[in-house]
Amino acid sequence: MSIYDSIEEAAKELYIRALKDIPADVRAALDRGLRAEQQSGNTTAEQVLFTIIENIKVADEQDTLVCQDTGLPVFRVRIGTALNVDGAEIESRLRIGCERATREYPLRSNTVHPLTRKPTHTNTGQGIPAVKLGFARGTDEIEIVMAPKGSGSENMSFLKMLNPADGRKGIKRFVVECVFESGARPCPPVILGVGLGGTSDVAMQLAKEASCFREIGSSNPDPDAAQLEAELLDLVNRTGLGPQGLGGATTALAVHVEWAHTHISHNPVAVNIQCWRGERARAVISADGGIRYGAS
């Protein structure tokens, strides 16, 4: 297979795999959540987490989708700089992969025109799939990570250009307010993505990276950002909103912070939320067109 055929094949396969197979780090975090609720004696929260874990088991056994929301396809692609490839063809093949997954599996299509609401029936369209392109120096491989972004959590997205004087405290307050405002709607326990700094669009992109592409258990390499992650996780879980907003100790499975430098007069804070399924799937394409699926 040519490298482009492999990209198309991987895009199709990753879309389906991400919807069926919950990542190991998310499963482990849900198990920890269940134990926490059992220890606190909250039977409703325990019931919800038990059902979530049972549902993942059923999806494994029946080889079926975990959730009916097939989302909007989001890809993070890192191209090795030792490869000489056509970026436009890569984008085109990612799109065709999504269309094939939608038609061949078949997956429910969610894409519509924002004004006319006319459906495309392909899970693709103008600007969709969302493709975040990056580069990895010195390798001759392409890494593709795919996240089908569900609507319940994506609808709970927030951006605020705080004042510099609002500081760290203002950032924490805003993030907690977003979680409170979202309540039961984003399917908690969630993975909370926080993007700090940059311009407004950069902050939103960082929040998406934080919610959809980071592994639970990873910390930001910057100690200040890592400290903020820990403090926010503690605060968010102390709200008691709990699984599905029905009360409990597990509102978030993780809080991930990503940051960029910003303007002296900016203090941008973006929040993007991923639901408990934390779906993502990864493949690496080698220069000869070989595809390796899996976390690493």
């Binding site: 549902n55 079926t64 989708l65 009916q68 929301d69 078949p106 429910r108 907690v176 039961a184």
Partner: protein
């Protein structure tokens, strides 16, 4: 917190006997509805072509495969966020006799009052748990308004559908509101330092 095994259609007495955080499983018929379905019923004024009285409505847009004989095979049936469709709850109960809404994310104060007045409940299902939900739906028995695909009016036969959690009862109580009020009180105590 008791568990109730209910069969459809639901009576007002059965619904009024449910208390917040009780669990429920349903055997019988459940109707699938979503935004577009209810826009057609209430905003366009087109009555549903089936009897919803005593009915249970699930907020869903299922993933299905159409078979050669025109019937639909279930692929993935899950639940969408109810809050978007809040304003349709009262007329569903008042005009068409619906007794229970199954959804995720909850409903707002007007619906809580309507459920108290008319005898209805909101049963929270675990959002995202579509694999399990699909297993508990035995068959898609009927589909109306296929032009709204996937937001048609669906009729499902279910067995032991649940466990569902009573999150709004027929006595003016909402678990969502209680949890949010408690969360708001805790957040007021946060220093954010």
């Amino acid at each position: 917190m008791a568990h109730h095994k209910l069969e459809t259609p639901l009576t007002e007495d059965a619904v009024r006997a449910l208390r917040l955080e009780d669990t429920v499983s349903i055997t019988g018929i459940i109707f699938g509805i979503r935004d577009a379905t209810q826009i057609r019923i209430f905003d366009q004024g087109i009555a549903p072509p089936c009897d919803l009285s005593g009915g249970v409505c699930l907020h869903t847009a299922p993933g299905v495969r159409k078979l050669a004989d025109g019937r639909y095979e279930k692929l993935s049936i899950g639940t969408t966020t109810s809050t978007r469709m809040d304003r349709f709850t009262e007329p569903l109960m008042e005009q068409y006799g619906v007794r229970a809404i199954v959804g995720k994310g909850g409903l707002l104060a007007g619906s809580v009052r309507a459920m108290q007045r008319l005898g209805g409940v909101y049963l929270a299902i675990t959002g995202g748990a579509a694999a399990l939900e699909t297993l508990q739906i035995e068959e898609i028995t009927d589909v109306w308004w296929e032009d709204l695909m996937p937001e048609c009016l669906w009729r499902f036969r279910v067995r032991d559908f649940g466990p569902l959690i009573v999150a709004i009862d027929a006595h003016g109580n909402s678990l969502f509101d209680r949890v949010k009020a408690e969360a708001a009180a805790r957040i007021r105590e946060f220093s954010f330092d």
